[in-house]
């Protein structure tokens, strides 16, 4: 039985056992209490699907909850729609609302982090104002006491208990499956570095929209059930800051990156709030909860679940005296990706055999008359170049000559103003970066940009999953292992990027670029900052890559390496190609010497 099946079956079994409680005569008080626990588990868990995994902290969960509350209220109270029928509609309304918001907001790059949070909070207030001033509410609030409640069991409280139990279970299963799917891996990558995720092939816009819609849909159902539970809804209570703030607190308390974290946080906070019920005691209780919250955030920033898992794993590591463990435990790793007992030490450093997967047929990369400006600065002026399969083209030029800009344009990070870039027959110009990665172009970053909270193995697995290789998740790990071995990083597979030294991080960039099974690979100064011995091994590695029929565009300042490796050299200056040809000849062209050494030196060298 795979882990996935085991967890889902366990969750369903626990839910079924809990579902029997009302039948054996659980007192109504406990049913209400557990209803609230499940209510908050569903809300907090659904919130974390976008906000915890992808890091888009939303303070607008109250808006989607409220959309659900008023959908059910309006349909059931004004149009006599049966209560249970209103729930899927509530989910749909909330999901559509979030998709509409996301379709606008996710296009704006600057709206990440706390600005996204405040924007979603503002949307909550706008929605509240609209509901307050229209027939949806109109001000005095709406009664649902006349809406018939279907009796799933004897008592109404039992019915709410069962509904919330079903919702919480469904939400937890969804959250678990998301973290174990491509979607989850993509969201984790977005969390750490969205731009890199897109360039590695993650369809970031679509993934954020999907996560947002799932998250809002669950909140909508929770709102629908809640409307019926309280049976009198007002704008003030529905759209208050309670929902957004509680879900954030519960998730952060439990650990927002782990699928079970928000549920643990929700249970802890709901239970502690419920212990203090009346009058002065309630005030004291709230203060104590707030105080505990402050302590937890200051002392356990990764959340309860991740911290406990970390302790357990660390203890396991110590007892197993494993050399590579430990790192994985930190900061709530992406979970499932457990290091198998695979031989880390491969026969030779680059000797690993090719995995069976076949690459796409090799093709050439061609840039024709590529232009790109930033404001008044013309970074690229009509650059044309061609890289054949199995060819290494060195791209050189002084700082600011447009080398990195060209790489950013080819990989789709920047759009081009004019010109054409083609890979075989495919035009790349109009495509988003993740499609370009899917077609088989991958790159490295001059300053390594690994996903900070994913292990080295997972970093590479992201590329294997979303790049041209299009591996299924299970295969992606084998593929990632292969490339870690290829680059000599296998023994660091479970390390987090900050534990790697510069050389290892540069090689991780390479492994990640290769794992996508690219047809063209853009290397942006992979050698800078390395020691001579490291440079030698990197050069061997680049030759190995070329031997596989990959076209390589190689940006480098280190002339020795350029001359040694390149089949051809293209020299850029101020966004223009000033020379092109065999390495030694191109570098001797008068204009090139002129650019590198200044006018007076040009004739001396010549």
């Amino acid at each position: 039985m795979t882990e996935r099946v085991r967890v889902v079956v366990t969750l369903i079994a626990v839910a079924l056992a809990l579902a029997c409680l009302p039948l054996v005569g659980l007192p109504a008080f406990y049913e209400s209490f557990l209803y609230l626990v499940f209510h908050w588990i569903a809300l907090a868990t659904s919130w974390s699907i976008l906000s915890g995994y992808a890091g888009y902290f939303s303070f607008g969960h109250g808006a989607f909850f409220g959309a659900g509350v008023y959908t059910t209220t309006t349909l059931a109270a004004a149009y006599d729609v049966p209560f249970l029928v209103t729930l899927p509609v509530a989910a749909l309304v909330a999901a559509l609302l979030s998709a509409g918001i996301g379709a606008v907001v996710f296009r704006v790059k600057r709206l990440r982090g706390e600005l996204f949070g405040l924007l979603t909070l503002a949307i909550t207030f706008v929605l509240a104002t609209i509901v307050l001033n229209t027939r949806l509410d109109g001000g005095p609030g709406v009664y649902l006491s006349n809406v018939p409640l279907p009796r799933l069991v004897g008592s109404p409280t039992g019915t709410f208990y069962l509904l919330a139990l079903a919702l919480a279970t469904g939400t937890l299963i969804t959250a678990y499956l998301v973290t174990r799917a491509r979607l989850g891996l993509g969201l984790y990558a977005i969390h750490d570095d969205e731009d890199v995720a897109e360039v590695e092939g993650v369809p970031t816009f679509a993934y954020k929209l999907i996560a947002f819609a799932i998250s809002a849909g669950v909140a909508g159902i929770a709102g629908g059930i809640y409307a019926m539970y309280v049976s009198y809804v007002t704008v003030g209570d529905t759209f208050s800051v309670t929902v957004p703030l509680y879900v954030v607190l519960m998730s952060v308390l439990g650990g927002a990156r782990h699928w079970l974290g928000p549920a643990v946080g929700a249970a802890l906070i709901t239970a502690s709030l419920y212990t203090f019920t009346s009058g002065q005691q309630a005030i004291l209780g709230r203060a104590i909860v707030a105080f505990v919250l402050v302590l937890v955030i200051l002392l356990l920033p990764a959340g309860v679940v991740a911290t406990v898992l970390g302790w357990r794993r660390r203890r396991a590591d110590v007892s197993a005296a494993s050399a590579t463990g430990g790192a994985e435990a930190r900061g709530g790793s992406s979970g499932d990706w457990r290091t198998r007992g695979r031989e880390a030490a491969s026969q030779s450093e680059f000797g690993a055999a090719d995995p069976p997967r076949a690459s796409a047929p090799p093709v050439a990369l061609q840039c024709e008359d590529v232009w790109r400006a930033f404001g008044g600065i013309q970074a690229l002026r009509g650059v044309s170049l061609r890289v054949e399969p199995g060819e290494i083209v060195g791209l050189v030029g002084p700082n600011g000559s447009g080398k990195t800009t060209l790489i950013n344009v080819i990989s789709g990070h920047y759009t081009l103003d004019r010109g054409r870039i083609t890979l075989g027959g495919d035009d790349l110009a109009a495509r988003p970066a993740h499609e370009i990665a899917g077609l088989g172009i991958s790159r490295t970053y001059q300053i390594p940009r690994p996903f900070a909270q994913l292990t080295a193995l997972d970093n590479v697995a992201v590329a294997a999953t979303f790049g041209a290789a299009r591996c299924a998740l299970g295969e992606a790990r084998d593929e990632a292992w292969h490339w870690l071995e290829f680059t000599g990083l296998a023994r660091r597979a479970s390390a987090l990027p900050h534990e790697l030294n510069l050389h290892e991080r540069k090689f991780l960039e390479l492994a990640r670029a290769l794992a996508g099974r690219p047809r063209v690979i853009l290397l942006d100064e992979v050698l800078s900052g390395l020691t001579p011995a490291e440079i030698a091994s990197a050069i061997t590695l680049v030759r190995e890559i070329r031997a596989r029929g990959v076209a390589i565009l190689f940006v480098e300042h280190l002339m020795r390496a350029v001359l040694e490796l390149s089949d051809r050299v293209v020299v850029l200056n101020e966004g223009e190609v000033i020379a092109e040809g065999a390495p030694r000849e191109a570098m001797r062209a008068p204009r090139v010497i002129d650019v590198y050494l200044g006018k007076t030196q040009a004739h001396v060298v010549a």
Binding site: L111, L118, L119, I123, V126, T129, L249, I283
Partner: protein, 283 residues
Amino acid sequence: MPSATLLGQAVVSGLLAGGLYGLLALGLSLSWGLLRLVNLAHFALALLGAYLTYQLGTALHLSPWVAAIVLVPAFFGLGIALHLLFARFRVTEFTSLLVTFGIAVILESVIQWFWTADYRRYETPYASASFKLGPVFVPLLELFACLTAATLALATWAWLRFTYVGKALRAAAEDPAIAGAFGVDHRRHALLLSGLSAAYAGAAGTFIALIATLAPSQIWAWLGVVFAVVIIGGLGNPVGALLAGFLIGMSESITMAVVAPAWAPLVSFSILIGLLIFRPERV
């Protein structure tokens, strides 16, 4: 369409209400923009200041102005203490939001414990004082609050712009490590700034006590609007915060006069949403 007088009155009331928004936004904007701390507890501090002004006035018959002289320095100290806590635990921009939310709830509970959840009204002779500017009534108290806000905003702007500490703070906000390498003692300056920010909350509290009806839940009532003001004004920009306060105050009061009071939040938040979506680089 309402009469010109009504509209004029709406503009004046909005401007004056906006002054108070600006005053509240000032401290928040400084700590967010220059210390990268989003301080939700700011609202709770302001309300605590208001309740203390009320208490000193009703129980000890202390004039609100004397109360302010006591409270503002005390809040300065409180701000320093809070920042020592944040610095000790290396609170980041995001965790600051959560930690200060916790602190705000603790303060709300404290307020409710001592003063109950009932509404409190601090009756003073200043409350009704006003003069007429043509057909338009100008309440003196609100005018004074507005002038205080303007003075503090301009003074803070000049301080940040022209003094060494101000420049050091702005440099450290850009890049603390580099500023530190150039000899900037960010820790001391940050303590000063958070003290100042809390002192502004105390000053705002005095005016809230005199102008508004007090209830512990008021902490959350200000939150949305003042955050809108902070963002529209630009983080760490005192004059921007003041002007944005005026803008939001006026847009609210004109909406109240022309359409209906209940629609007012739609206007201010629509301004915020529009700004975030269409001019995100402004923020």
